[in-house]
């Protein structure tokens, strides 16, 4: 039996490069687990190859589809510069979108700023509707990815919060009429490589806190530093390893200096899911504070939980969905630093009251990359027939779009040659001949 063919669109860690893009990391973990079940071809915004899998520029996807049709078009979307191209690519041939973020901090690439996607959805559902006028002005509706979430046949979400927002806010959708059928949507958490997270922890007499947020206010670095400063001032030894992106180094240095914690905080640039994994055995506590509607602690929080570490999270947004039994939830506000300090003090000592085994069990069952791969495989397999039919309908819509576009050409030509009957006939026949020669239908 032939394997279903999957066109996998994602930023990729090509040629040894390690990216902070979550999608690239997810691809690294899941592709080896799925390539035996599916015939996968990769599409990214570049020309480098990726391992042994056939890899192409995303603009070539339609040509590959023509040569050997795909059953599933799969896209990973996130609020990251490397993923911007997917905000267009995912709507050229809709498929299954895995949202690592549903809110986007930019309006997106220029061509989608005036996108008539909502009318395209309506046209897909009801082919008798008229095409929208060209050159109409549309305005983006805010940070929620209405367009990206609406223009797909099935939607997956790394975060429960984003899935709730999708069900609540996204009404214009390709696959079902507004408000009628249940949309095809699921929660699928970030995968984690269990083996990498389960290395034996190293020991230290000083409490070591790992942190990978940016210096920006929503990641609460200032509150964490305030808490650590208070601990240091009361004679408790602390060491913090702050892993971050290169561009955040200057602001971080300034913040550390402001709190007088030079020598207590160690900065490491080159943040990526890979680099965070390598840090885990050398820390005792992980802080994944996040107080913003945008973004979330990403795969870093999942990795820390799989390692069995006590994690500090903000009682806000996507973090609210993690169980209180294995996380330490901090209420953002006036007493935030004090709460952090109290938790760090509580966690001191050999065990500190934290149940490492329970944390590992919970996290392993939910985030193990093998579990996630199996779930994604099940999504693909169970939806195969639905997706094939939907893709066929989309291709029919494309044919109609082509005919509409060619009709515009025909209309302009007729106007130009109006009254010149002989010429009109000659050119008309010649045009049909030329278009046919070029493989263009008229």
């Amino acid at each position: 039996m032939t394997q279903p063919r999957v066109a996998w669109f994602s930023p990729l860690n090509t040629e040894g490069a390690s990216s902070a893009s979550h999608s690239a990391h997810v691809s690294d973990l899941l592709l080896p687990l799925l390539e035996d079940q599916f015939d996968i071809e990769l599409f990214h915004n570049g020309f480098d190859s990726y391992g042994d899998l056939p890899t192409y520029h995303f603009l070539s996807a339609f040509h590959r589809h023509k040569q050997k049709p795909f059953d599933i078009f799969f896209y990973q979307l996130e609020d990251h510069p490397d993923s911007q191209y997917l905000r267009i690519a995912s709507t050229l041939m809709p498929g299954v979108n895995w949202f690592h973020d549903l809110l986007f901090s930019t309006h997106g690439p220029e061509p989608i700023l005036n996108s008539s996607w909502s009318e395209t959805c309506q046209k897909f559902i009801n082919p008798d509707r008229e095409w929208p006028d060209r050159d109409r002005k549309y305005t983006p509706r805010g940070p929620v990815g209405y367009r990206e979430a609406g223009m797909c046949f099935a939607a997956l979400f790394s975060s429960e919060r984003d899935h709730s927002e999708y069900l609540r806010q996204i009404e214009d959708r390709l696959i079902s009429a507004k408000g009628s059928e249940q949309p095809l949507s699921f929660v699928l958490p970030f995968p984690v490589d269990i083996k990498r997270c389960r290395r034996l922890p190293t020991k230290s007499s000083t409490q070591r806190i790992g942190y990978c947020g940016s210096p920006r206010i929503e990641h609460r670095a200032h509150k964490l530093l305030q808490a650590i400063r208070s601990r240091v001032q009361s004679g408790r030894s602390s060491h913090m390893v702050w892993m971050l992106e290169q561009r955040d180094l200057p602001a971080a240095l300034e913040l550390i200096s402001e709190f007088g914690l030079d020598g207590v905080v160690e900065l490491r640039s080159g943040l990526s899911p890979e680099s965070w994994l390598s840090l885990l055995p050398d820390i005792d506590v992980a802080a994944h504070l996040h107080f913003s509607a945008f973004g979330h602690p990403g795969p870093y929080l999942e990795s820390s939980l799989v390692a069995g570490l006590p994690v500090l999270i903000s009682r806000f947004g996507s973090s609210e969905f993690y169980p209180e039994e294995i996380t330490y939830q901090i209420e953002p506000g006036d007493t935030e630093a004090l709460q952090i300090e109290e938790v760090l003090t509580q966690l001191e000592g050999e065990v500190g009251g934290h149940n490492r085994d329970l944390t590992r069990l919970y996290a392993g069952e939910r985030f193990d990359s093998r579990v996630i791969a199996a779930e994604l495989s099940a999504v693909f397999s169970n939806l195969l027939t639905t997706l094939r039919l939907a893709t066929k309908r989309w291709e029919q819509l494309e044919q109609v779009a082509l005919q509409n576009m060619l009709a515009v050409l025909e209309e302009k030509r007729s106007k130009r040659l109006a009254g010149l009957d002989g010429l009109e006939t000659i050119w008309s026949e010649r045009q049909v001949e030329i278009f046919s020669d070029l493989g263009w239908s008229l």
Binding site: L59, I88, P109, E110, T120, L402, M405, V408, D437, G439
Partner: protein, 358 residues
């Protein structure tokens, strides 16, 4: 000797590197004893729905023979000239319709996510693949252009650099206090970056701009920036200039600014180098970077106002640096074969489909 037609694409009222390339190629073919001429058709880029018709126009033209003379070879240069149907076709690609390739998805492309635009894009890409595949020799004017053919269409292409249009006439003279910009005035050439950088560039330095607008509203935009920053005495629009005046402008410039977005080739780069002048460019300027190394032949900045300003001031403040970079550029050009001798090689390659036949 062969009868050769060079195919040019003309946008009326504008002039750029492609026109120079076509004209120079015809002259060089004639100088080598070939019977050469130009075939040009006008081209309208708007509205985009008309692009298949523009391509079909070229496809409909019969270039097989004229006045009893068979046309042995046609040399196509730019979209959509390569759609022509001829049994012996060479391609020296200046560029494809970039809005559906490397510029797709960005501010320089007018193709949106509308299924009608996507249907049109696919049509043109498949059409390009078919007709370029008919060419017996495929090349691009730079590695940047050749790699686009390989990367987007899987068509192997050679980089064949055009020698400089004014051959050995470039010269260097004592610099005066101006930065020179040469090229079409449109958004992708990013002349506005240098203009906006001027307020933080040493005030005794002017900006001289050679070139004409070929985008609606661009002159209003640039003049608006000049008014906003009170740059009336520092910016001079020279429009089109004669070859003699251009050589003079290059010869006396302090530096040449050329920082377009992902340029195909960039005659301007080489003209500046041949004139012994450093080039101010950006790290995303494409073909320019095939020749300019940072602090060797010019300065490579980030494509933002502050960085361009800093780069410019570095050359103003350190005259020795500017002279050294300019001299390095001249040495490079002399060794490269891009002055006059390069045409023998280029023509040999373009006429290679005729080997043994003529």
């Amino acid at each position: 000797m062969a009868n050769v037609l060079v195919l040019g694409v003309k946008v009326p009222f504008t002039s750029g590197g492609q026109e120079v390339l076509v004209r120079t190629l015809v002259n060089e073919l004639k100088a080598r004893g070939h019977d050469a001429d130009t075939v040009e058709l006008p081209f309208k880029v708007d509205p985009k729905e008309n692009l298949p018709n523009e391509a079909a126009l070229w496809r409909s033209v019969d270039l097989s023979c004229f006045s009893g003379q068979d046309v042995d070879l046609v040399i196509a240069t730019k979209f959509p000239s390569y759609y022509v149907n001829h049994p012996c076709k060479s391609l020296w690609m200046v560029h494809q319709h970039r809005a559906i390739y490397d510029l797709y998805g960005g501010r320089y492309s007018d193709f949106s996510d509308d299924p009608r635009d996507e249907a049109l894009r696919k049509m043109l890409v498949e059409g390009d693949r078919r007709v370029i595949g008919e060419c017996r020799y495929v090349s691009g004017i730079s590695k940047n252009v050749a790699s686009r053919l390989e990367n987007y269409l899987d068509i192997a292409a050679e980089a064949l650099y055009p020698p400089l249009p004014l051959g050995g006439q470039y010269r260097s003279e004592e610099s005066q206090d101006y930065i020179l910009s040469v090229g079409r005035l449109c958004s992708i050439k990013r002349v506005d970056l240098m203009l906006k950088a001027l307020p933080t560039v040493h005030s005794f330095v002017k900006l001289k701009i050679v070139g004409t607008p070929d985008e609606p509203g661009v002159m209003d935009y640039l003049n608006n920036e000049i008014d906003k920053h009170h740059l009336w005495d520092r910016v001079e629009f020279l429009g089109r200039v004669s070859d003699a005046d251009l050589l003079e402008l290059y010869a006396r410039a302090l530096a040449v600014y050329y920082a377009p977005h992902n340029e195909d080739y960039g005659y301007v780069t080489l003209e500046a180098m041949a004139s012994g002048k450093p080039v101010i460019t950006a790290h995303d300027s494409g073909g320019v970077l095939e020749f300019i190394e940072h602090n060797q032949h010019g300065v490579i900045a980030d494509p933002d106002i502050d960085s361009i300003s800093k780069a410019t001031n570095s050359l103003i403040e350190d005259k020795e640096l500017a002279q050294r970079l300019g001299a390095n550029g001249r040495t490079f050009i002399e060794a490269s074969g891009l002055l006059e001798a390069g045409w023998d090689y280029v023509i040999g390659k373009l006429l290679s489909p005729l080997e043994g036949a003529v």
